[in-house]
């Protein structure tokens, strides 16, 4: 009122208010400047070297239209192709998305990243109606908490999972669904006798497969993976919560497995078992003894003991499956393909909470999502995994996860495994603890390139089906332990055709062995990265590796700490080819770089399409040794188009604690 009556006072008051606001904003602006994110050593290195070469970090970028963009391209891959250096932050975010004992969080993040560019919205799982939710069973077991858990399982196994799968397939005809089970399977399978085929026979197979691909492209967008994957994740989340509660009760003695099993009601002959919760057809509840399961199941719950699972799966009649084993050294032995955390046009969940387990399975197994969602979660123990093709964390039009929380584990597979993503798919293997061994290969010969080498397509590998369909995301994360990675052709943070391959190892002295297209390599419009944070590591291979990008692709290897040894023959260690970008960054440690051909390594870019590629070799610290182009405290520009390197001390010796002799 006073101000309204006196305009001058009003003006003065407003001036004072403005002054106060301005004064209060100054510290805010200053603090914003002060809190500006520091540039990471690797990004400093990239900026510094590119400037020296007459380039800039933004030059590491690819167009989306070198070929006709297809309808299956993942938005996250498209974005990263535009700025491939973003792979470094993306890997960090994906690593951080895993929360111990909560695999559903990582699964949810990956589900978000499976958004295709054309998608405006994401579909939800099937929502049961009230009648379906209120479905009543007669009780077989007498423990209320356990019955509540089983009721929830029944809702998923009987209603939500199968109907969500149906929702994903709803727009496809019966013939098209059959095509997914049969012809499309051939597209992700390599004949194991192809080295004995004639040129005409191979050409014929190639033509047939091209025909399959063209046929699928004509209706593939009708398949909607979202309801299936999101239903699987919802199921995982709910069951995991309920299971946590149940396990706590069992451990505290509030409830006892023996009492639950012994307290079950007696069912006279002729009783309709399907009306009793826990004993429906395809269900099995096992006690704490050593149990043997054979055949095909929808749901198995085992309280403990050293169990054997000799299971089978009808690939022509896919069904969703949940297996939960609380403890014991178990043996999972697949009698067919499509087992143990396998979503083959379905949802497959396997949760094993304790024990040293052995998993042996064929193809589409052990955390495989093929037009489906599959997760194998192993919480503890020294485990052994063996699969053939599309296994151990593999996804095609789906999500496949293999998560192992602890123990010294051995992973063995033939192809498309250990973190492999194909079209609209993500395959992730996440191992948290223990010194592990990853091996892939030995079965499918690489007839295009070498008679004596095998295809791997694994260990953080992703691929599309050129030129029809962009690929997915394949990632292998290992957080602790001294690990060994053994593969042959296409592996260890590599990819092909509009995809993203990631191998990340956080700690330990690791050994990486591969032959070609590996260890941070992208070939043909795609992205691959290998990032190792700590430990004294060994990288070994022949060519197109250790930071190599070929044909509008980017391959990046980043080793942040430790005294490392890199050995490769040619077109490696920062080699860019056919307008690709190859980057090697080693932030710290006394490293050794060995190569065979100095003309195609250590900052090499070859000319193609009348311009160059980019090769960036960056070592930011330590007393290093090489038989290539670099030297300590040295900048170089190779005669190639375009590339070079730096081997400098990012932090000058006099500025380090150790550097002060006084």
């Amino acid at each position: 009122m006073l101000l309204q009556n006196r305009p001058v006072d009003y003006f003065v008051a407003m001036m004072k208010l403005t002054a106060i606001l301005l004064i209060s904003l100054v510290p805010l602006c200053l603090s914003a400047q002060e809190t500006e994110e520091p540039v990471s050593p690797e990004m400093f290195g990239v900026g510094h070297l590119t400037e020296y070469l007459g380039l800039k970090p933004d030059d590491i970028s690819f167009r989306s239209d070198y070929t006709e963009p297809d309808s299956f391209r993942l938005a996250v891959v498209a974005d990263l192709m535009h700025q491939p250096l973003g792979m470094i932050d993306y890997v960090a975010s994906l690593k951080g998305a895993y929360v111990s004992t909560q695999p559903e969080i990582l699964a949810s993040v990956l589900f978000q990243d499976l958004k295709v560019q054309r998608q405006k919205t994401r579909s939800r799982p099937y929502q049961p109606d009230v009648g379906q939710l209120q479905r009543r069973y007669s009780l077989y077991f007498n423990e209320p908490g356990f019955n509540q858990f089983l009721s929830r399982v029944a809702q998923y196994v009987d209603i939500i999972l199968p109907r969500s799968v149906d929702k994903s397939l709803a727009l496809l005809s019966p013939e098209q669904r059959k095509f997914l089970r049969q012809e499309f399977v051939e597209l992700v399978t390599v004949p194991d006798n192809q080295e004995s085929l004639s040129v005409e026979a191979i050409d014929s197979i190639e033509n047939v497969e091209e025909g399959y691909t063209e046929k699928f492209v004509s209706f593939g967008t009708l398949y909607d993976k979202d309801p299936t994957i999101s239903a699987g994740i919802d199921c995982l989340r709910e069951l995991n919560t309920e299971l946590g509660h149940l396990i706590r009760q069992l451990k505290s003695g509030q409830i006892k497995a023996g009492k639950i099993m012994n307290g079950a009601v007696y069912l006279p002959e002729g009783t309709d078992r399907n009306s009793y919760l826990g004993v429906q057809n395809g269900w099995k509840i096992g006690g704490t003894g050593n149990d043997y399961y054979s055949g095909q199941y929808k749901f198995i719950f085992d309280f403990g003991g050293d169990d054997i699972y000799d299971l089978s799966y009808d690939m022509d009649n896919p069904q969703s499956t949940i297996i939960i084993d609380l403890s014991g050294n178990d043996s999972y032995r697949g009698q067919t393909d499509g087992l143990f955390g396998s979503g083959f046009l379905s949802i497959g969940i396997l949760l094993d909470f304790e024990g040293d387990d052995i998993y042996r399975a064929g193809s589409f197994s052990l955390g495989s999502g093929f037009f489906g969602f599959g997760i194998l979660y192993d919480a503890a123990g020294n485990d052994f995994y063996q699969g053939d093709n599309h296994t151990e964390g593999a996804g095609t039009f789906g999500l496949g996860l293999l998560i192992d929380e602890g123990g010294h584990d051995i992973y063995d597979a033939s192809l498309n495994a250990q973190g492999c993503g194909s079209v609209e798919g993500a395959g992730v293997l996440y191992d948290r603890k223990g010194s592990d061994c990853y091996r892939v290969g030995g079965k499918y010969n690489d007839i295009l390139r070498y008679e004596e080498h095998d295809l791997s397509f694994s260990q953080g590998f992703a691929a599309g089906m050129s030129p029809y369909m962009s690929g997915g995301i394949g990632a292998l994360f290992d957080i602790e332990g001294n690990d060994a990675y053994i593969s042959d052709i296409f592996a260890q943070g590599s990819s092909y055709w509009w995809s993203l391959g990631i191998l990340y190892d956080s700690a330990g002295n690791d050994n990486y062995q591969s032959y070609q297209y590996a260890q941070g390599c992208g070939t043909h419009m795609t992205l691959g990265t290998l990032i190792d944070d700590y430990g004294n590591d060994v990288y070994y291979g022949k060519g197109l590796m250790q930071g190599c990008g070929h044909d509008y692709a980017c391959g990046l290897i980043l080793d942040r700490h430790g005294d490392d040894v890199y050995t490769a023959s040619d077109l490696s260690q920062a080699g860019g080819s056919a307008n690709g970008v190859g980057i090697l960054i080693d932030n710290d440690g006394d490293d050794r770089y060995f190569i065979n051909d100095p003309n195609m390594t250590h900052g090499y870019g070859n000319p193609r399409r009348d311009y160059g590629s980019i090769g960036l070799f960056i070592d930011l610290g330590g007393d290093d040794l090489t038989n290539g182009l670099g030297q300590n405290n040295y900048y170089w520009r190779t005669g190639s188009k375009w590339g070079g390197g730096v081997d400098i001390e990012l932090i000058p010796p006099e500025e380090t604690e150790d550097g002060d002799d006084n």
Binding site: G54, L55, L448, S466, D610, Y611, G612, Q631, W642, I648
Partner: protein, 310 residues
């Protein structure tokens, strides 16, 4: 129509069809022969490597008669097959030109693009006009390929078309234009090329740098002298590289001046160019430049050049 006319017409039709049947049959046979050879010619398997070259030679020996079939094969989605087609057409050479030019109006832009690609290898002055016509094609890849072909063919008449392509909205087309200007030796475009040294796309920047080295050096140096202090650092930085390569007295003087820049990166570019141009330090600038350098990493860049020439 009289009975006589009907008989005459029927007889004529019969004769025509009798003439055409063997012709169509021969065409089918040729098609089958080329298809069969092409499977071997485009085989990628290691074991069948020895079959590839003979098959390519055999198809090429057919000559222009194989062109319609080969142009159809340019629609293949397999890069290996497309490269095989290109190899065969390269071997056929000049007789392939009429079919390739005719295909520049093909409705499938991929085929147009690939015909431009191979015309760059076999084309002559007769294809300049047809290529100019597609140099403003709606697809950037066709524009890029057409401009590249014009540069590679290297005959007069295409200069202005290529010059215009330096302003294309797509970096890869600007790159092709810069390369083509160098190949054509089109000195009038030097100011535009210097401008492209600051291009957002590295392919264009680097191509421009190389093209400038092929053109009249005195004009290049004069133009660069006016542009070294451009707001776009790349123009000056890459300009230093060009001056270092040219290494004339005027170029060296310009570089020497740049070693006193307030920007340490520019000082490094200038000093590196100077030292590379004068590895024996005939001009005696080396010590003074190193001594004056206060920035640790800039000094290291300069010293690295000396170590590389040791």
């Amino acid at each position: 129509m009289t009975t006589k006319n009907v008989i005459v017409t029927a007889t004529l039709l019969l004769l025509i069809s009798l003439w055409m049947v063997p012709s169509a049959s021969a065409q089918n046979q040729l098609h089958r022969q080329i298809d069969s050879l092409f499977v071997m010619a485009s085989s990628g398997e290691v074991r069948y490597r020895d079959m590839v070259e003979p098959a390519i030679e055999e198809i090429a020996a057919i000559g222009a008669g194989a062109m319609p079939i080969l142009i159809d094969k340019f629609a293949s989605k397999s890069p290996r097959e497309r490269h095989t087609v290109r190899k065969i057409i390269q071997k056929i050479g000049v007789p392939a030109i009429p079919d390739l030019v005719a295909a520049l109006t093909h409705p499938d832009w991929h085929i147009v693009n690939r015909c431009c690609w191979v015309l760059a290898d076999v084309g002559d002055s007769t294809v300049v006009k047809p290529l100019q016509k597609v140099s403003d094609h709606e697809r950037w890849m066709v524009r890029s390929q057409a401009v590249t072909a014009l540069g590679k063919i290297g005959v007069g008449g295409a200069e202005q078309t290529v010059r215009q392509a330096l302003d294309d909205s797509v970096g890869l087309v600007r790159k092709s234009a810069a390369v083509a200007i160098g190949r054509l030796g089109f000195a009038e475009a030097i100011p535009e090329l210097v401008h492209v040294l600051g291009d957002d796309f590295y392919g264009a920047r680097m191509a421009s740098m190389e093209a400038l080295l092929k053109l009249d050096s005195s004009v290049v140096i004069t133009t660069l002298a006016d542009s070294l202090n451009s707001d776009n650092d790349f123009v000056g930085d890459l300009g230093c590289r060009v001056l270092g390569e040219l290494a004339s007295d005027e170029a060296m003087d310009l570089l020497l001046a740049q070693t006193e820049s307030v920007d340490p990166d520019r000082r490094a570019h200038a000093a590196v160019a100077l030292f590379e141009a004068d590895p024996e330090d005939m001009c005696g600038w080396r010590d003074a430049i190193i001594e004056a350098e206060t920035d640790r990493l800039t000094r290291l860049k300069i010293e690295s050049v000396l170590r590389s020439t040791e």
